[in-house]
């Protein structure tokens, strides 16, 4: 592959195979299949971490770690669930581990991980408003909303990922959307991007 994951993937017929088929092929040694998977999910996975972690460099590392985990576990992969669910389950585990470490570090040393790069380069007013409103949602509601709106997971996938009943997911998602709508209609005073980034660490 020689560092051309995306290019090799583009040479394949993109819609020809499902994610699960590609993962099975990769587990059998096809690097091109992984290239196609990487192409499909690299931005989504980076967005998953970027919306939950204030530090962009940290989000990059977590994205990288998730793909590493996929590569290392490829020999044990069994297509018993959607690849997307599998991928986000791994991403969630890595995110939780990062949060635990960060909490322990902050507890013991009282230091928060300072962003190594600016959170966002020039966010628009609309974007700032959205981020501010999302940050005010209840934690679980926020997680469900993000998984639905940005990762485009189905209710069943979200329930499976968060180990919640399906009805709970539906009701909490509805509640989150309504609360977010109210927050966006009556916006609070805008925070600076840096302060907002610190709050988004909580997402």
């Amino acid at each position: 592959m020689n560092g051309t994951l995306g290019n090799s993937g583009r040479e394949r017929s993109a819609a020809a195979e499902t994610d699960e088929q590609l993962m099975v092929e990769f587990s059998r040694g096809s690097a091109d299949a992984f290239g196609e998977l990487f192409l499909r999910y690299k931005q989504a996975l980076f967005g998953f971490f970027r919306r939950r972690v204030a530090d962009q460099a940290q989000a990059e590392e977590l994205t990288q770690d998730t793909f590493f985990a996929i590569v290392r576990a490829s020999s044990r992969y069994a297509p018993c669930a959607l690849f997307r669910t599998y991928l986000y389950a791994i991403a969630f585990k890595i995110l939780r581990a990062y949060r635990r470490k960060a909490a322990l570090r902050a507890t013991l040393f009282g230091t928060e991980a300072a962003p190594r790069q600016p959170a966002f380069e020039t966010p628009s007013d609309a974007e700032l408003s959205v981020r501010q409103a999302v940050a005010k949602l209840e934690r679980l509601d926020r997680e469900i909303l993000l998984l639905r709106e940005f990762e485009r997971l189905s209710y069943a996938e979200i329930a499976d990922l968060l180990r919640l009943p399906l009805n709970t997911v539906r009701s909490r998602l509805f509640r989150a959307r309504m609360a977010l709508r109210d927050l966006l209609v009556t916006p609070a005073p805008k925070s600076s991007p840096t302060k907002l980034a610190e709050r988004e660490e909580c997402v």
Partner: protein
Amino acid sequence: MNTVPHPVVPERIMAFLDGELPAAEARVVATHLDTCAECARLAERLRSTSQLLSAWRVPDVPAKVEQSVADLVDKTGSGLRTGRPTLPVRFSRWPWGRRAILWGGTMAALLVALALYLPRLRVSRHAEMFYTDGSLQSQVQGNGGSAGKLSPPVNGRALPESGRAITKLNELVTPTSPGAAPDSNGLYHGLGDHAEDSFSVNGQPLTDQQSKIFASAIPAPMIARTVSLLIVVKDFAASRSSLDAILARHHGYSAQLGVSTPENAPRSLQASLRVPAPELSSAVGDLKALGRVENESQAGEDVTRQHVDLAIRLKNARETEQRFRSILQQHTGNVVEVLQVEENIARVRGDIERMEAEQTTLEHCVDFASIDLQLMEEYKAQLNPPGASVSTRLHNAFVAGYQNAAETVLGIVLSLEEYGPSLLIWLLILALPAGLLARRYRTKVAAL
């Protein structure tokens, strides 16, 4: 105010917009939205909320992420070990198989190191014990295969510093050998079996007559030899009989002997044997033939100086006694003086007898070597029928179990009594900071 309940709950409308409803139910909701303005507004609010969220964008994935993942995939494809290129994988994240291999390898390395180190430690300790003050001691352990190759216990002769013949000899004889120098006590060491070759008279080698005088003046070293043997025998009864025969053949005797015959355990014999010194080697050889030698040690103590000192003191005491007797016979005096002389004679006589007994014992130790023998039976376990019935054994096991449990509980109670107050104090000291830390950690985790 419209109090008629909607046939479709708001969450269903949201699910319809998200495409989460089955086709039949979706048709029902779609129809309802066409007819219900309130639900249509709700649907519109939900749609607009999603549209507003789309304003939250993230930048593109940096190329370095793609590059590092591509490198990893390349390593996987080429069969290399895939590891995190930027940070090492923590031990806690290692798979169990790899952890087991690491622990197993570490333990094996430790065992190998111990196996290599322990024999050296034993050898160095043996070397330390090889020479002892005043005697040369040899010790051999093992199966007895090489036990016969021992160094002679004493290599040199000792020249006593007192005695008339020796005094005269010292005046006549001067050492010629570079190594023949007397020590602070006037003793010559390390001259070997031909000590007379190392001396001369007026620069001339000793004549035959002088050599005879020299040989008669220099007493042979008096070595009290002791041998310790641990032998494992197959036939214990036969070995016991053979032991008596060996003692008879070598004109020895048993100073002390004890036999232990425990049940369901190997029998053993412990004996302290005395054999004439010239017969020692052959007697030890015969004893070794009884079985497999597990341990053997030999020691020789040079008692020449003690013997010479004792002889001189004895001679002086006899001369003193003789002078007292002469005084008693030749001189007259009052009764008190006679009684004092007789008292001195009695005292000197007692000293003489005590020294004679010591001399006899010393000479006996030299004439008869001591063998500390331990015979162990090569035990073969016997298949014995169980001694107790099943019910008795169950009862005994229950009683033992109850006692063990009671001991355990008692031990816990005692430990609590002993360490409880200290633990309580430490808990009180640490509870506050630990609680604060735990609370802070929970807060941080909840915040993340």
